[in-house]
Symmetry: C2
Subunit: 455 residues, 2 copies
């Protein structure tokens, strides 16, 4: 009878004093919810990757169309515009269904970077009219495309930056850096084409090309750090392929030219063709990465869902078995939980020396179980947090390096390339990571800025 009353009385408090297991389950549901959002972001990234590729192609064709005074590539350009339009419509439909029909499906930063790019996309037809009428310089058209592509890439960056699952974040970091490398490759192609069109490469152009090659290299390095072995091998395959090798030879020819030394404009087509072949290979690796990104993100949702079911089953089983009078094992008595500083080292012995009998009345194996679930989840979260920090580091350091570069450009009046080289030299001289040098520069730069406003 006593027991029955206990159980009856137990019903009311449950409604407003929450049990630990309810929060355990709520935490798991929150994880599932955020993994679902993440899977949707990954689909978005896939659509963005396709649109970026189509825009990169249109950029190249518009460039040639303009440079040839409308003589070349008219047909191909028209077809390409259709591909861009279709890709753009697909993306916009996705955006509407995912983020406007259901609120709360993405954060402020992702949504704003979408707004930013959409406004650029809206203006694309205006740009095309100018291209059609030959009313814009090739360089200006290229710049407009680059801005739009840069905006779309920032969507991918934001998706990676807010992801909170380590496996998916790693893939997103790899994907973002690969897309970035491909865009640098596209810009290298554009500047190279400009040099050939002018039949000369001056020192400014040399500097730009080498900076873009370095930038590709750096992005690829981060990609390799976070990619799987099979993708690394695919990348090696691309770099060892005949067009990439031929492109390297042509890069060396350009590098060997003195400032302003003339070069045959006819090489322009060879340059363009080789660079394009390499970029197309990069795109097929990118497609492959996008496919796996989708697989992994969906798999993580499924895993978390089955973990939730498992939690439910275990809690249900425990409630049926555990006798209400036994106190469960909790963090209070877990020697592995740190609490009092210094009590870990030899404290157990001290306690034993003070001769108090251990607490009785527990059936440890059963009582552990709910606590085990909570601890297990806490442990997993901690581990995920560490892995996540490592993956995000690659993104944050990138941001830090950009920010530090800005400080040097402003304060010392350096060009972007010079600022970067300065940081690189300092890192090598002091055996520091580039990011650590960047952090110091930002700190010093901001103190200097504070002082100058105070003065």
């Amino acid at each position: 009878m006593e027991r029955h009353t206990d159980r009856t009385r137990g019903v009311a408090p449950v409604a407003n004093t929450p049990g630990a297991e309810k929060f355990l389950l709520a935490a798991k549901r929150a994880e599932i919810c955020s993994l679902r959002q993440l899977a949707e972001s990954c689909e978005l990234v896939t659509a963005v990757s396709d649109l970026v590729h189509q825009l990169q192609r249109e950029r190249g064709m518009s460039n040639i169309f303009l440079a040839s005074g409308g003589a070349r590539f008219r047909g191909q350009w028209q077809e390409q515009m259709d591909l861009v339009r279709r890709s753009s419509e697909r993306l916009q439909r996705q955006l509407y269904l995912r983020y406007l029909k259901q609120e709360g499906a993405a954060g402020m930063r992702l949504l704003n970077s979408i707004a930013y790019s959409l406004q650029g996309l809206d203006d694309l037809d205006g740009l095309r009219v100018q291209v059609e009428q030959l009313a814009i310089a090739p360089l200006d058209s290229t710049r407009a495309f680059c801005r739009l592509i840069g905006g779309l890439l920032s969507i991918v960056f934001e998706a990676a930056d807010v992801a909170d699952d380590p496996a998916v974040t790693r893939m997103l970091v790899a994907m973002f850096n690969f897309m970035q490398a491909k865009e640098y490759a596209g810009q290298e192609r554009a500047w190279g084409a400009i040099g050939f069109a002018r039949s000369r490469f001056d020192s400014v152009l040399h500097d730009r090309l080498s900076h873009l090659q370095e930038a590709q290299h750096r992005s690829v390095e981060v990609f390799i750090e976070f990619a799987e072995a099979s993708d690394q091998a695919r990348w090696q395959g691309i770099e060892n392929s005949p067009p990439a090798q031929d492109l390297n030879r042509l890069r060396r020819v350009i590098r060997g030219l003195a400032d302003g030394e003339p070069i045959a404009a006819e090489l322009s087509e060879v340059w363009y063709e080789l660079a394009t072949q390499r970029i197309d290979c990069m795109h097929s690796l990118e497609d492959h990465l996008a496919g796996r990104l989708l697989d992994i993100s969906r798999q993580r949702v499924a895993e978390a869902e089955s973990e939730l079911e498992d939690h439910h089953a275990r809690i249900h089983a425990l409630k049926a078995i555990v006798c209400p009078n036994t106190s469960p094992l909790t963090m209070l008595s877990d020697p592995e939980v740190p609490g009092l500083y210094g009590a870990g080292e030899g404290a157990a012995k001290e306690a034993a020396a003070e001769c108090v009998p251990p607490a009785q009345g527990l059936t440890p194996n059963l009582a552990r179980s709910i606590y085990d679930l909570i601890r297990g989840q806490a442990h997993r979260i901690k581990q995920m947090g560490d892995e996540l920090n490592d993956a995000r580091r690659a993104l944050t350091e990138r941001k830090q390096v950009e920010r530090a570069k800005g400080v040097l450009m402003r304060n010392l009046g350096l060009s972007e390339a010079a600022a970067y080289r300065k940081m690189q030299r300092r890192a090598m001289a002091c055996n520091l990571r580039l990011a650590d040098v960047a952090a110091t520069i930002i700190e010093i730069g901001e103190k200097a800025a504070e002082k100058s406003t105070q003065a």
Copy 2:
């Protein structure tokens, strides 16, 4: 008529091709939603801060009750248990209303740290029975309380770690570090009381006390970095107050004792009383911080809400004015938007040299406006991100230092204090920040671990 058709045709696409301004508004709504969640987390932090304080008091009283074999503090302890119960019920009611009745109001990590602490709270009555029956050693009781308090502090840490508004995050980082300092002060009080109760301080105890004093100092330093000038002044007031000065004198007396040199047990009460007075002063500063935390977080919600209204009004006004045939200014033609590498430096001149007339037909001042809204918001988000990184750095570095300490303890078999001192010495010798040393240790430690599993 032409115009009319245009407008009619315009209606359908709006429904499924999203306009940039819709995402601009969605981004602002997402910000408001996340600020509201943050304001709720701040209320939670306030409730946790109160419960931690009450538990710290109960911990001290239980300790004296146990050490005196049940002779002292029985009445005060009973009263204190009621205060803890009331504070705990308040917190649990809040938790239930905020996080279980409405799903999606918090992330996995915050919810799991809540589950973890709640399970500990559930076990508190079991601990009290042991204390009442004198069936637990004072040290074990202290350890149990420390674990529970550590769990509750981790709720505050999680709330700070997931916050994405710089102003609120700064306050949360200050608050968390101050709470942490206060907890170290409580642990120092406990170890001091143990030393006096034994009438001697051995080298192990000396080491612990000095480590806890250093730990307070480090946490207070971070608090000061993120606190406002008035709070820094309040803190100075506490440190200069007579009880804090007297406590410092007593600390020096203890430090001057040789290993095992006897000291009057009667000083125990003086020690306890002085430490308690200082901790109570810290609590009133903590209450003050909590109050401002709530104010700031609510103010941020109100600000974002009025920004949303402003966005609506501006977009509405623009739609009424802008002639549908003028193409708006977008990122595509904004010279401030980086896109093509190298095109910033002198590219405008190059473009001008190629002699293309600028695009016509814009009414720039009007057309800029929607784009201005989007750019303004993007700029603010970027700035907030930088500020946020700076505030989060303090939390991440803390985690990194803890993780590196663990690597050294495992790999070199060092004690916690020795591991910390080793890192500190290395940082000073190489003129590096502690966090940079920690990052290197983690990197090396993990490579070593990978190698040993491969071998």
